[in-house]
Symmetry: C2
Subunit: 84 residues, 2 copies
DNA sequence: ACTTTACTTAGACATTTGTCTAATTAACGA
DNA sequence: TCGTTAATTAGACAAATGTCTAAGTAAAGT
């Protein structure tokens, strides 16, 4: 839960998630959209993975990141307790 | 949106929100539950207010904090775009 | 009036965070 | 086998964050 909120607490990481809504993408393809260095994006992807918001598979040279939506259920569950 | 995720990215602040589910409470009453100093809790409450997650009204000596659930709709809306 | 109670503001400080450059690893292509 | 491309790891650094103590403000009690 901590890792989840931590991962979501950054506009770049949220934008990456939104990017991944359109389907899986390689680290490089993701990085192209942002004006940050590759290591920075790599670090963001790492935090997203720690929160289990994305998964990654190595495909040849590339590392393909995929959105994992099941984690959102946890968040929805937490939110739901406030909806009386 | 930034203020919202920022406010949620701390276990103490989330615990305060959960405390407030049981109804409004004064800053002091909230602070009693935690082993942090009053200024620290006051600061957390400030961040929650900045995110509009709580409102505060002064009642005599006391400052009563109330959960504002309407903000969760914004979060639910953001989440919803991922639920294909 | 003075003291106490409730809370916030101000300022300090260690830790965490987001970013960078440089170096490293791994796969591909000629 | 060598150079290129894709990505991560390592290390540095400024900025943001969470905590504290001390000081300030304001309402209530006596």
């Amino acid at each position: 839960m901590n890792a989840l909120f931590k991962a979501l607490n950054d506009p770049t990481r949220r934008a990456i998630l939104e990017r991944l809504r359109n389907g899986p993408a390689s680290a490089g393809a993701i990085a192209e959209q942002f004006h940050f260095s590759a290591p920075t994006i790599s670090h963001h992807l790492d935090l997203l993975r720690q929160a289990d918001l994305v998964t990654s598979q190595k495909q040849g040279q590339f590392v393909v990141y995929t959105l994992n939506m099941t984690v959102f259920d946890e968040l929805l569950g937490w939110l739901y307790q406030f909806k009386s």
